[in-house]
């Protein structure tokens, strides 16, 4: 079985595109779309990498990131944050809460692949 990535994102066509490119690169892509239950999904599925959208329904990605870093079972999982707001304060917040990488929408498929390979090398 390939490396497991949990994509936490609520935009279905972005999910479909990322699932396609990562699957072709050998990743096992799991998805989740709701902020409220996202941390529970992370605990249940223990992925190798998490792609986490900052603006999710019901709960912010930044709050979920804090939960990830405060729980022993999940605190070491690499996290790539996605956001549509490229403001410095969002970058600062992502860094402060422990994101490994930060990517601003719209991003390219090649960028996503590069970052994912860096976060979980074979």
């Amino acid at each position: 079985m390939g490396r497991r990535v949990l994509l936490i994102e609520d935009e279905p066509n972005i999910i479909e595109a990322i699932r396609f490119i990562l699957s072709r690169d050998g990743w096992n892509v799991l998805t989740h779309a709701d902020g409220n239950t996202a941390f529970q999904a992370i605990q249940n599925q223990t992925p190798d990498v998490i792609i986490l959208d900052a603006m999710l329904p019901n709960r912010s990605g930044f709050d979920i990131l804090q939960d990830i870093r405060s729980e022993a079972a999940t605190q070491d999982i690499p996290v790539m944050m996605l956001t549509a707001r490229g403001q410095q304060k969002d970058r600062d917040m992502a860094e402060r809460f422990g994101a490994n990488r930060f990517m601003t929408k719209p991003f390219s498929n090649a960028e996503v692949l590069d970052v994912m390979r860096q976060l979980a090398p074979l």
Binding site: E16, R24, F107
Partner: protein, 436 residues
């Protein structure tokens, strides 16, 4: 600014209007033609007896030569120079400049006025862009949709061996996203169009109510009558109130208005204001009502056309603005946090203690206002229920009552659009740069 400013220009204009030759006028006034030429080109100051002699020679009143539109031009030029101190305009030569190049001077004044107008627009739009929840959400949606289109398109372009089923799926996604993007962009354009015009159709329930009140200048004769209409009927009769929330907000406001109007009848109230030297505390005592009721009532008085109108702002215990009646020169932002130095918030920290303060807004051409603020508790859930606080601030332009001799407090609109870099209460940097 001396009143004989640009007298030379006026002499020349009057002489040419009357068809008098320069040499003839000089002779009649008892001076040389070359000296009159210097005067007419504002190269020599003129006053006293010589003005009388020239006006007599021209057959006009001396005041015609010494007071006029040029005074306004010079004042405007001086204002423009003060607004842009870095330009180091030669202020001492304003008269000379305006006299020799009146067209260029008018252009400077016009451009200065245009810059001031654009600065106000920038402030308003910056405020909106910074705090508008619709814009934030809409831009997020647009960027997310663009991301989906970009990723799907790249997959189609870069994947040579893509399965036909996947190919069809991504093409369908691109088509759907393109449609959604178009709708999102149209909504954004509509929203920005409306944002650019303060009189445009309102968006939120609070804005709908404000539009109704603005149309009547915040005075509601229907609720002032001996037998007033019911607040519910009044709210139902206003087509501008399109949403149930807006109608409900209007009913709450109209109910309070009717109560204030009944407790403080118009003619008795205005009489008491004058009798008590515009002291809201004494007026409240006279009628046995709260000071907040007096401040609200004052802000709802009818005003004569062209007169300065009082402003009013109300916030709840969290500091959120729940009501705003703007007054010219005192911006009341629709979105986001405002300046923490407003007396409104000082009153909020000291419930029931009245706060009177003269405040000054803006560092360029600052304007002053007299403010009365008070925070009052209520117990809408009964004796054992939570205490609810509401602060009210009346904003009076200078020409309403004049200013008392008390210290002036500099304030702003909100940190992001406030130029006071050294403010002790600043919570975030200003977006206004030197360029603006």
């Amino acid at each position: 600014m001396s009143k004989n400013a640009l007298t030379g220009t006026r002499i020349r204009d009057q002489r040419q209007r009357l068809g008098v030759k320069q040499a003839d006028l000089a002779r009649r006034a008892g001076i040389s033609a070359s000296y009159l030429n210097l005067i007419e080109h504002n190269r020599r100051r003129i006053g006293g007896k010589l003005v009388l002699d020239i006006s007599r020679a021209l057959g006009v009143e001396p005041s015609v030569l010494t007071i006029g539109a040029e005074t306004a031009l010079l004042a405007a030029l001086q204002d423009a120079a003060v607004e842009r101190p870095r330009a180091a305009a030669e202020v001492e030569r304003i008269e000379d400049f305006a006299g020799r190049y009146p067209g260029w001077a008018a252009l400077v004044v016009a451009q200065s006025a245009r810059i001031a107008e654009l600065e106000r627009s920038v402030e308003g739009l910056t405020d909106r862009l910074t705090h508008d929840p619709f814009l934030s959400t809409a831009l997020y949606e647009v960027l997310s949709t663009v991301t989906a289109i970009r990723s799907s398109a790249a997959i189609l372009a870069d994947t040579d061996d893509i399965d036909p089923e996947w190919q069809a799926r991504f093409l369908r996604n691109i088509r759907d996203d393109a449609h959604r993007l178009g709708e999102g962009a149209e909504a954004l354009v509509r929203h920005l169009d409306q944002s650019g015009d303060a009189r445009a159709a309102p968006g939120t329930p609070q804005e709908e109510l404000e539009k109704v009140l603005e149309a009547t200048n915040y005075h509601l004769p229907d609720l002032e009558r001996a037998l007033p209409v019911s607040p519910q009927s009044l709210a139902a009769s206003r087509d501008e109130l399109t949403s149930p929330v807006a109608r409900q907000s209007a009913e709450v406001h109209f109910t309070r208005y009717a109560r204030d109007a009944a407790a403080l009848p118009l003619s008795e109230f205005t009489g008491a204001l004058t009798r008590h030297g515009f002291d809201p505390g004494r007026v409240a005592g006279d009628f046995g009502v709260s000071m907040a009721a007096v401040l609200r009532r004052w802000a709802s008085l009818p005003i004569e056309r062209g007169a300065a109108r009082p402003g009013l702002v109300v916030c709840d215990g969290s500091g959120a603005i729940t009501f705003r009646k703007p007054t010219e020169g005192f911006a009341l932002p629709r979105f986001g946090a405002v300046c923490p130095l407003w007396p409104l918030f000082q009153a909020l920290t000291r419930p029931t203690v009245p706060v009177r303060q003269v405040v000054e807004l803006g560092d360029r051409a600052p304007e002053r206002f007299l403010t009365y603020a008070v925070c009052e508790p209520s117990h809408p859930m009964g004796f054992d229920g939570p205490q609810v606080f509401e602060a009210t601030m009346l904003i009076l332009p200078e020409d309403v009552t004049g200013f008392p001799d008390i210290a002036v407090q500099p304030i702003g609109t909100g940190c992001r659009i406030c130029p006071r870099q050294t403010c002790a209460a600043r919570r975030e940097p200003s977006l206004l740069t030197e360029a603006l």
